[in-house]
Amino acid sequence: MKRTLLILFLFFGVSTYAQWGHKTPPPNPPPPVPLDGGLIALIGAGAALGYKKYKDRQE
């Protein structure tokens, strides 16, 4: 029983590790789906929103 459990544990451990992604990618990768293209604009928008908030509070 203990041996079976150990084998099962090792099997799932190895398969989980394999899924995690430590392999080198194949050539000709598919197109990426980036999201961080507008980070600077978002930071700027945050600063502007903060400025408006403090100006409103002052008035």
Binding site: G21, K23, P30, P32, V33, P34, L35, D36, G46, Y54
Partner: protein
């Protein structure tokens, strides 16, 4: 010339004194963003040394794959490599890289929340809820992109370039705009 310079510096200093609250906000906002980015980049460097993919990209990809399967994409495959995950039907896959996991947006969102309110438990609640909302939209975005890529056509490229990205940015701005109302509700609970 030198008097002009001194005058302009004095004007700037007066402006800083007048907007000291705003200056404090900007300092907190940017310093939080820098600290969070350093921690995140350190984590990415560590995973790179381990020759592994980072956990966030992996989880976002895994959930997006589950969503695509739930939305009816037949034979949807999912495999991860050191720099990202491939999701979709063979020949029509999409590549989820580190820059697609939405965490950098979540860091900017969190920095703003802490910049405005400081380190309070209400801020932490809003950061956690906001990060969950951002990741929910991101998983929805990638899942839908897998579906659109499976259907084919130019629609996929239109959505990938504009619609989904704009939606997530609008969601973040919306969360920032409703922050005062959330604050009011949370502080009312405290009192």
């Amino acid at each position: 010339m030198s008097s002009f310079k001194w005058g302009s510096i004095e004007k700037i200093l007066q402006g800083v004194r007048a907007d000291s609250e705003f200056v404090k906000f900007i300092c907190r906002f940017l310093s939080c963003l820098i600290v969070f980015t350093i921690i995140y980049e350190g984590y990415l460097w560590f995973t790179e040394q381990q020759r592994e993919l980072d956990w966030i990209t992996y989880k976002v990809s895994e959930l997006s794959h589950a969503l695509a399967v739930a939305l009816g994409v037949a034979n949807c495959e999912f495999s991860c490599f050191m720099d990202g995950c491939y999701i979709g039907v063979e020949g029509k896959m999409i590549n989820v890289l580190e820059g697609c996991n939405g965490l950098k947006l979540a860091l900017v969102y969190s920095s703003y929340i802490i910049g405005v309110s400081g380190w309070k438990w209400q801020s932490v609640v809003q950061v956690i809820v906001g990060v969950i909302v951002i990741q929910f939209f991101n998983v929805l975005r990638i899942g839908m992109l897998v579906v659109l890529r499976d259907i084919g056509g130019d629609l996929y490229f239109f959505f990938i370039k504009y619609v989904f990205n704009v939606l997530i940015y609008i969601a973040i701005l919306f969360l920032w705009l409703i922050k005062p109302y959330i604050d009011r509700a949370l502080y009312k609970d405290v009192n």
